[in-house]
């Protein structure tokens, strides 16, 4: 039995109830017991003074790669869950491109048991859409779900076969499982290393046109209309995609979308000097795309921020740009980047940001959390939205160090992270 926790005097922001004000939060038996003024906890409860801080439902990331099983030298469920907790996340959804892939009950169960052993952030496995992520045969969605999968995706690879995508959307309806798709028309993007634009032209790198993403987004939207299935569009990167999603939402389709902190922050210019830490798929795009993505997050066209946390070994990135793997770490920089990029310039309120990093992700994948309502799970984060800090990859809890943000000064950081009523990260005490 864990001790109850009384968080006193913080600014409590609960986007699920549109509340924002100074209050105490009392957590007991793994639940939110009460939120109010002058709460007196039972004897022996742990008291945390949150004066000057923000108390919010824990952040939830719908898109991370924890690399276990198969690539434990890059990250494990335990290190990933710790990195998540350090970044203020109380739950993450682990993408299935492991080895073996999460296309069977055994692997899903293994990830869940590793997460339980670690006892840090909650880890919800995502199952594959197709067996072995081969894009040929559907995985057993019912089995995956009963083992604990919260969604299905072949992330890392797009579902190119439109018939397979159609049947996946239809079949998933039985279970209410969201389908998360990596949108990339690979015959058009083929062998591209960065965004197709002036930087790629100068550097002599093969470009991936924005159209490669947009064609796939358009197809997925059309198939969602055809089937009524729930499609979640991963890591959107172009203004064209934003326009397509806006139209789909206007039509009332069951479509949701995510954007990463780095696509909200950086442009293809980050690749100058062949910086492999700026190599990702989808690639960093243009200034106009960054602006459109920020606006889309503000107006709700894009539902959530997800990190696409992608650990890679340092020497995998220490090579020719063409040969370097895609992706960067996200969990430990996401909140600071989002505050610096969106809240401080006045684009989003802190409450709006927390809605897009906690409440809304919980709703999309039907996860517990994202709320401080009575009886909600005691997954809570105490944030300092003003503190200025400099990103130091050496201090990461993640096993990997691949980030283009090293040395960048940002504002906003998680101070204490509580999962199931237990403190899993306390920066002061860490």
């Amino acid at each position: 039995m864990t001790r109850p926790i009384l968080i006193k005097g913080g600014r409590v922001i609960d986007p699920s109830r549109r509340s924002d004000g100074i209050a105490d939060v009392y957590l007991a038996e793994g639940r939110v017991a009460s939120v109010g003024h002058g709460i007196v906890g039972e004897d022996g409860c742990q008291v945390i003074d949150a004066t000057g801080k923000v108390v919010a439902p824990g952040l939830i990331d719908l898109h991370v790669h924890l690399r276990e099983p198969g690539f434990e030298d890059l990250e494990t469920v335990a290190t990933g869950a710790m990195a998540a907790a350090a970044g203020g996340f109380t739950a993450v959804c682990a993408m299935p491109n492991t080895d073996p892939p999460q296309d069977n009950q055994g692997t899903i169960g293994f990830v869940i048991s590793q997460a339980q052993k670690a006892g840090k952030a909650r880890v919800y496995p995502v199952g594959t859409i197709s067996l072995g992520q081969k894009g040929e045969k559907l995985s057993e969605f019912g089995e995956l779900m009963s083992a604990g999968a919260v969604a299905v995706s072949d992330d890392g690879k797009p579902i190119m076969n439109s018939h397979l995508m159609r049947t996946a959307l239809e079949y998933a309806k039985t279970f209410g499982l969201p389908i998360a798709d990596h949108c990339e028309e690979i015959t058009l993007a083929h062998a591209g290393a960065m965004h197709e634009g002036i930087v790629a032209t100068r550097l002599g790198l093969k470009g991936i046109p924005a159209a490669a993403e947009e064609i796939h987004v358009a197809r997925d939207i059309i198939l969602s209309e055809l089937t009524g299935g729930q499609i979640h569009l991963c890591h959107m990167s172009t203004r064209g995609s934003v326009a397509l999603i806006r139209r789909a939402k206007d039509m009332g389709l069951n479509v949701s979308a995510e954007v990463t902190p780095h696509h909200l922050t950086l442009t293809h210019h980050a690749c100058e000097g062949y910086n492999t830490n700026a190599k990702m798929n989808p690639p960093l795009r243009e200034e106009a795309d960054v602006e459109a993505l920020q606006q889309a997050l503000k107006d709700g066209t894009i539902d959530v921020i997800a990190t696409d946390h992608a650990p890679h070994h340092y020497d995998a990135k220490e090579r020719e740009f063409d040969e370097a793997p895609n992706g960067i770490l996200g969990l430990e920089t996401a909140f600071g980047l989002a505050v610096s990029q969106l809240v401080r310039p006045g684009l989003l309120s802190l409450s709006d940001l927390l809605y897009r990093m906690s409440t809304r992700p919980a709703q999309l994948f039907k996860l517990p959390g994202g709320s401080l309502a009575t009886n909600a799970p005691a997954d809570v984060v105490i944030l300092d939205p003003d503190v200025e800090w400099t990103v130091d990859p050496r201090a990461f809890f993640s096993k990997s160090r691949n980030t283009p943000f090293g040395g960048r000064t940002v504002r906003g950081r998680a101070e204490v992270t509580i999962v199931r009523g237990r403190v899993v990260h306390d920066r002061a005490g860490a």
Binding site: R202, L203, G204, L205, D315, E323
Partner: protein, 319 residues
């Protein structure tokens, strides 16, 4: 006392050189032309320097040209080709570089299929690095020898109209030419099928001319790029025959233009594809002077980088 602009440690591309630095290389190359005409074609300038020619792609012309340049400067050279080296056994570029450095070499000349590899290497080793062609990025010594050849022919580059014809998208020669020519005041146009010309190339300050006849009419000189034969199999153009018919530089096309034109080609040529034999061997061609100038330009680059002093000065009065 004249103060010369330093070239820095490496020569990765012409994009980051100033017009003054490019002119320094060309003027130094002028002096080296004469060395190749001497009875003993060798000077001791780089005596005791060790240079590795690290070639991850097959190349006869560029490698031979660098080797002549190095030997005529009395450097000690070692050639490492990708076949038969540890490179083909999966060693990373960084390991290869560190191993070479551990052998205390002074300079590396690198040819590599990946864009950015020369810069990558230069940032990781203390030796001077010279880019002998990195992927689709740059081939600075080719760009310099093209500049030198045009300057020989026309006396100056300011205001000269040069059309770069062919597969611009995949060409490192095109990029180095564009930077070098623009910096020295030439006008540059590119001409090729739209499937082989980057959409945003105009942002580099060049004009796009869709038809080869218009390019020939416009230009004082053509730089005809080599068409990699695999462009056909990967679907950028339908056939070599059609390419020659629509974009080939033929004698008929040049005669129709009724003017004297200079024709360059970085080699090796696909005769009958991007350029016809009677053009390549004809009076307009400066293809062989290009090769001669290649050695002089490479000698100049090796010489200027070898001392490495950031701010050397010409010392007047006796010694």
């Amino acid at each position: 006392m004249t103060k010369a602009p330093a070239l820095g440690k490496d020569l990765v591309g012409l994009e980051h050189l100033s017009a003054e630095q490019i002119r320094l290389i060309l003027e130094t190359a002028e002096a080296f032309k004469e060395v190749s005409e001497r009875p003993i074609k060798k000077v001791p300038a780089l005596r005791g320097k060790t240079i590795v020619n690290l070639f991850f792609e097959a190349s006869t012309r560029t490698r031979t040209s660098f080797e002549f340049a190095e030997k005529r400067l009395s450097a000690d050279t070692v050639n490492v080709a990708s076949s038969g080296s540890s490179v083909s056994k999966g060693e990373t570029l960084v390991d290869t570089a560190r191993n070479l450095e551990a052998m205390r070499i002074d300079m590396v000349v690198i040819r590599h299929p990946s864009s950015g590899s020369a810069e990558f290497l230069g940032n990781r080793i203390r030796s001077n690095v010279i880019n002998a062609g990195d992927g689709k990025h740059e081939h600075p010594t080719q760009g310099l020898l093209d500049l030198l050849t045009l300057r020989d022919k026309f006396g100056k580059l300011e205001g000269l109209k040069v059309a770069i014809c062919g597969d611009v998208t995949h060409s490192r020669v095109a990029r180095s030419n564009i930077w070098g020519l623009r910096k020295l005041g030439a006008q540059v146009a590119v001409c090729g099928p739209a499937s082989l010309v980057p959409r945003d190339i105009a942002a580099l300050g060049v004009e796009v001319i869709p038809h080869i006849d218009d390019a020939i009419r416009w230009a004082d000189a053509l730089n005809v790029l080599r068409l990699q034969l695999e462009r056909m199999t990967s679907g950028f153009i339908p056939s070599l025959r059609e390419y020659n018919r629509v974009f080939g530089v033929t004698r008929e096309r040049l005669e129709r233009a009724q003017k004297d034109l200079v024709v360059m080609h970085p080699g090796p040529m696909n005769r009958g594809v991007e350029i016809d034999s009677d053009v390549a061997d004809g009076p307009f061609s400066v293809i062989l002077p290009q090769v001669t100038n290649g050695v002089a330009v490479r000698m100049a680059v090796l010489y200027l980088l070898a001392g490495g002093g950031p701010d050397w000065q010409h010392q007047g009065g006796g010694e």
